[in-house]
Amino acid sequence: MTVHDNIDNFLVADLHGELTAAERNELETHLLDCAACRQAHQETKIMNQLFEEKLEKPDVAFEQRMLGAFRNRVPEKNRTVTNFIVGLMRFRSAQIAGVAAVLLALVQVGRLITNSTEAERVIVTGSNIPTAEEARPQNLVAGGRKGAPAPLAGIWKDQANEGRESDELSALAKVPAQPALPDSGATSASGFGGSLEASATRQSPASTAPSFHEETVLPAKAKAQTEVAPPPAPVEANRKLIRNAKIELEITRFDDAVEKITAFANEERGYIATSGSQKQANGKLRGEVVVKVLPENLDRFLRKVRGLGELKNQTIGTEDVTKAYFDTDSRLKNARVMEQRLIDMLKAKTGKVSDLLQVEKELGRVREEIEKMQGELKYWDSQVQFATVTIALAEKDLEEPAAFLLKERAQLALYSPEVEKIYNDIKALASPKVQITNAQLDRDNSGRVSARVSMLIVPEEGDVVIGRVKSFGRVENFQVQTERVAQGGQGMAENAKTKRDKVELNISLSRDEQEQAFQQTSLRIRTWSVDEKTKELRNLTEKQNGRVRSSWFSRDPNGHELANVSLRVPMKNYSALMQSMDSLGKVENVSVQRQDRTGAQIDEANAPADLSIRVYSQGNIVSSDSGLIATLRRTIAQGVGAIMWSLRMIAVALAFFAPWVIALIGVIWISKRMMRARSKS
């Protein structure tokens, strides 16, 4: 690399004073030789000078301006908090934690959103109701046409009573416009009477309802009706409607109610048709009143009656007999014409006698028919003229009991060595005052004997007899149950008498062995000579009045000897036996379980206590699988087991953390990529 080739670089560096001494020498020698380079040197010098003079350098206040601008644009605010956060964000761990927090927050937000959308869905389903309600008036119109609004009333129960009224109004207003009239007989009615008054039709949907039992709806219904058609307009003369109603009421006093009903009936220009009452066992009355009122006053009357007491049930029905009535009426007219003609025939007295007889007979039949039809019409007239209201009345507290019966039931479990003897003793107690209702003695093939006796004792003798039975053996589990049985009703009654009934006594007899131990003890005795000590244990038990129930002995190849002895002693000797146990060897693992039977009378001193004793020796202390190799094998096996376990734990931990770590790495990677992309752009 010669100076000449790089003359520009050398010249500039020279002017900038960045050449080393050797380089400067080299340059100077070259400049002496080369004219072109001298020329370049000259020009570069001028250029350098130009730059130094001409370039507009920042003025002295530049730094101050920069600082001022910076302070302006980044005001010093809540330094500590931001500093702390910014300082935190410099650490990787903090960044990771931040990302994790953001992820968690996202998850929470997601859950929140899903929850809220569910809630919204619920709201949406809830808001379906108005849409269904919009459809309701149509339903009501259809229902009104069929004359059966009852199912609708059931569906729409308490919903928006006001809405109901307005709906009904609109629905009812639509009814007259329908060519088909509300009732089944309406078609013929229209033929008879031409167009019906709107008021009559308006009334019909409610009144023609065959039956509806919705008590909750009724007041609303009635209210609606009062507003729709204030006083029920008189039914058109041409229409024959039979109205009847049934009401069940609960009232406080029967006589008062009947009196008031009579008054109401008079007010509404009706009368009491029949009235009947019946006295119940507890002195309360139940009865039925049948009232006849004018149909147009029926609704008002019902409303009054309802106020008398608690409404239990109500049925209102309307029967339209218009068609049948007028059919009968026209047939009657025909029959009258026929009758007249027959009479005329008789008057003319022409023809044979047999013919006359025939005419006479026919006349009789026609007259009979006429009477029948007249009767029918009269009945209908009376029915139409008055509506029938059947009021069933029941006084409150009808269910109050008249008397109580005190029943005593006792249960007794007896344990004794001689079941049969006691069984016979108990049976001997039988007398007119003590009835043995059931007695049985069981002996199964393993020789166990048990017996059961049930008896009925007159109340006065109850305690005496039970005391005698108790003295026969060891009493276990004595229970007395007293029951007050109400007669003639349920619930409370202050004045009802209480009578004592016979005492029922159930006795179960069993032998001692079958008795469950009052206390159970298990313990271990370590000793060197198991066989010998077991024998000693047997002796001790017999000394303490106990019995060995079972024993079992074993010896394994390693020299372990083992004996299980289970024995039973009376409770009073229990502690003595336990103390003598120490002489046998080292007593270990004593556990005592006691069943406290509450509510039972127990003869504690004689109650049996079970002991289950395990007598054992340690055998050969040095076991066969000992020695260096066996120990090593065991150690290695245990070590491997531990390693496998920890490996499994690590795998579980990995499986748990992996998705999170992957998500974190992904987020960090993406954010880095985004940052890089932004800085590149």
Partner: protein, 185 residues
Amino acid sequence: MMDANERETYRAAIHGDREAFEMIIRTHSRTLFAIAYGILQNREEAEDAVQDALVKAWKSRWRVRNPEKFPAWLAMIARHRARDVFRKRRTVPLPNEATGSLTGETNRNTNTSDELLDRQLHSALATLPELHRSALMLRYFEEMDYQTIENTLGLTNGALRGILGRALATMRKQLKPALAAFERL
């Protein structure tokens, strides 16, 4: 290498020490200005770019993990900011007013050869590559020694010498007539 004191200042600035950061503004803003000016060739714009860069640096200072790289990082931000400004200026076509005033000024000021020289100098500078311009600016604005320029721009000594040499050579060849006039002044 960076001395311990300087290092400590950078570290403190990164941790949010405002005073340390202001100290860095005092010592480094000229460098940043030189870089921005090299790109933008306009005082006001360059100053704005430097301001923006400083604010941005303050806000995202936590991203710098190694305090030693702080100056280089600052320079990078300033360069990006200046380029952004430059690009935006490029995309907006020069308004008529600007060109008009330019020609007007030219007409008015042709008689002063000083203004003419200035103009020629700038247009010649504009033809240089950006890196060359930056190197020139650092040298002539800051009167930096080569070592510092190398550090700031991330160049080797040889490369810097070559750049400066070539830059000056290009410039003097382009401005040959003007230079003659200048010499005469």
